[in-house]
């Protein structure tokens, strides 16, 4: 008994939207980055599900690249967070509004 591929699509959509909502409603930059990780994982689930569905390994290769990007993102993101915290001793996104008008 195999799982229809659209079950995975629904799961991935739910996780992705959770991440999206997280990015919009949280004020802590770290949680926002965690939500971005959620979104990346949602796409990864999709890639792997379709890789299995099409019997093609390309989807898994893309997950590999997504992992690379996630690692790069977290390195730069956390460095930015540390720099921000050093400048304002806060990581609340509302406090960083110099470029806002």
């Amino acid at each position: 008994m195999t799982i229809p591929v659209f079950y995975y699509l629904i799961l991935s959509a739910v996780v992705f939207l959770t991440g999206l909502v997280g990015v919009l409603i949280r004020r802590n930059i770290i949680i926002i980055l965690l939500s971005v990780e959620l979104m990346l994982n949602a796409t990864n689930i999709n890639f792997v599900a379709f890789s299995q569905y099409f019997h093609n390994v390309a989807g898994q290769v893309f997950v590999f690249f997504a992992l690379t990007i996630a690692a790069a993102e977290v390195a730069v993101g956390l460095a930015i967070i540390i720099a921000l915290h050093r400048a304002k001793s806060s990581i609340n996104v509302d406090e960083f509004q110099l470029l806002k008008w």
């Binding site: 629904i10 959770t18 409603i25 939500s35 690249f65 790069a72 460095a79």
Partner: protein, 171 residues
């Protein structure tokens, strides 16, 4: 059996990801993300992508999330007292997209044929790790090299951003 596992993994993934967003304490958020990563890895195993499952745990759970926790503790963060004031907008956007996604997959998803014939590269037969390595180092060699470049750039960028006095005294 397979369905049982899928529904278990899916339920935990969904609940854990909601908790990541909803919990006030960043440490708890990070821990529910850890649970979610593990269950995603489990999902990968059930999809016969065991190499990715291992890499998922090593990279996401073992490196990325530890770095998050490291920073949370380093900065000694207080609890997030309330959500951002644009949460109604977020709710509307999220709900609309969720309804849309579920509707689309339900309407069109059922029309997807069960499983198409095998294309050129098969996941089965050759082991998963070998198949992945084969594709990675032949078809996707150039993207692979670009990925390593991205990592290098990220590494340099992170050091420059986080270091206090670049170019000051002997760094």
């Amino acid at each position: 059996m397979e369905q049982l596992f899928f529904f278990y993994f899916a339920a935990v993934i969904a609940v854990a990801s909601v908790l990541v967003v909803a919990l006030r304490n960043p440490i708890y958020s990070a821990l529910s993300l850890l649970i979610m990563f593990f269950h995603v890895a489990g999902l990968y195993v059930s999809l016969r992508a065991e190499f990715l499952a291992a890499v998922q745990v090593i990279v996401y759970a073992g490196a990325i999330l530890v770095l998050y926790l490291f920073v949370v503790m380093l900065l000694n963060l207080k609890q997030d007292d309330r959500y951002h004031r644009q949460w109604p907008v977020a709710g509307v956007v999220g709900l609309t997209l969720a309804v849309e996604a579920v509707m689309l997959t339900l309407l069109k998803g059922r029309a997807i044929p069960p499983a198409p014939a095998n294309t050129n590269e098969t996941v089965e037969g050759l082991g998963n790790t070998e198949a992945l390595g084969d594709a990675l180092y032949s078809t996707y060699l150039f993207p692979f090299e670009v990925a390593s470049l991205i990592l290098l750039v990220a590494m340099i960028g992170a050091i420059i951003l986080a270091k206090k006095d670049i170019g000051g005294s002997e760094a």
